[in-house]
Symmetry: C2
Subunit: 328 residues, 2 copies
Amino acid sequence: MTSDPDPSKTNVAPERPEYVVVIHGGAGTIRKDRMTEELEEKIRTALDAALLKGESVLKAGGSAMDAVSETIMILENSPYFNAGKGAVFTNAGTNELDASIMHGETLNAGAVGGVKTVKNPILAARAVLENSPHVMLSGEGADLFAKEQGLELVDQKYFYTEQRWKALQNILQKENVTTGDLLESPRADYKYGTVGCAVLDKDGNLVAGTSTGGMTNKRWGRIGDSPIIGAGTYANNKTCALSSTGHGEFFIRHAVAYNISARMEHGGADFQSAADAVINEELVKAGGSGGVIGVDHLGNVAMPFNTAGMYRGYLKSTGEKYIGMYKE
Amino acid sequence: MTSDPDPSKTNVAPERPEYVVVIHGGAGTIRKDRMTEELEEKIRTALDAALLKGESVLKAGGSAMDAVSETIMILENSPYFNAGKGAVFTNAGTNELDASIMHGETLNAGAVGGVKTVKNPILAARAVLENSPHVMLSGEGADLFAKEQGLELVDQKYFYTEQRWKALQNILQKENVTTGDLLESPRADYKYGTVGCAVLDKDGNLVAGTSTGGMTNKRWGRIGDSPIIGAGTYANNKTCALSSTGHGEFFIRHAVAYNISARMEHGGADFQSAADAVINEELVKAGGSGGVIGVDHLGNVAMPFNTAGMYRGYLKSTGEKYIGMYKE
């Protein structure tokens, strides 16, 4: 396994690799001087396990849809990311989870917002895509749909981690919560622990998915970009597959994932330039922090972010592999 | 007041009008041979009242944000459209309302999904934009936010109309409801009664908003395109302001509103060509029915739809005015 610097920056695929898996585990103030070696190792191990899961699915002839679902499940089941087990807490002390997935051949998509009982929200999003006429389900209705689909349900306490609970208590104490305080933007040291995956498979299909617990201390049924097709997730076999992580409100307003695809489809931009223009120019100008990971129809990988760091990695059928955390 | 044919088809503004108001009251199988003269007159009168409200706000020096909000309130308060009073019923016999609004100068946006007690959901969307750090709130949390904002709340029975209740009963009886039946697409004679408005004001600001009751018989907390920024609503002073109406799932997957703007911004298309390409080519190819209304930064109006009809209209400070219902 190679490490930083990121070889994808200069990588142009001469011919399409058989498969590519790209992941993220969130962006934010991820800096080496704030990280313990132990935590860094645990996160790196989890990212590696996720990439290897995606690869094993694809090597066995699985589809991009299978690879994205199973890779994201690994990250949801890990307590180190803000998705599934380890999700952040809402102002009410609950966990409310969002996820989405999109298939680049059919442009079919599925998303759930604010589910509370689904162990793996990415599977609920996939069930919406595959077994409903809808794209987006929300709240208790989405939980009910997941139950009807036979997905594994868990008690809210399954999602509990001490670290996330303390994070909520810290905010509640510091802010002496009033509506006015809640109106503030996330603090400068905010970490967006959303997880996501984009895959190119041997059939040339592109699929992307995203899963998150949203923002610590969120209220009012707030929905971020993760379950919004075109903002948090987008896939189109003509262009690319993308998953976002960051300050969701900006990612919605700038339609970040579709924006990158549109610059390729309608503006003729290449993948890396389009992704850089949105993350490092358009979003920076607007004050929106975060990043995206993705793969294009030729197998090129892009992973731009405008924060101090982003948990990220990719591997290709060519043997090329990378895991990174910090800015180079 | 002129009537069909639609002069906007060939209208290119030589210089920007002081203001423009464009509205829709939904698209679908709206055909003259199925319409009574009485109903046609009532709908035409409501559309006219909405346009005149927008104009009066703008003539008095009001902003595009004020004009969009007040115009949409007229349509929400009318029982003839599927928004506010007159909203369709969910499978559970409730009314769950979605709305969104976006400002083209700041790209700030607000949306609510699945509110049950807010008389005018467009005002809740505007409050999210103006008085929260978020873009999208959902479910009971969104109702609570609206209450905290001092918006007018109503009992669910306020939204009741006999026509919409019968429509639900018809579907429930015909389909002898099972999950399998619910998985079917909307029937071919479906009408999308969503309402929307786009405005250009004297300062060159573009604002768009959308409000809906969603689909009759919807379940599982289904959210359509109306509260999704980039799908149901989008505004950008560099390009255009748009509101969508149609089969929401397709409008989300094709990011319809932002898609049109992106073809202008990144592809160099003019407004009418971009709007036509998305509604009459991309969506038709995908099987997605509906339309959009909007105004661009030069004051040009576009109102393409791929259904039999769309309730629509616009007026300009130049005196130009149009209301239409059917395909020409």
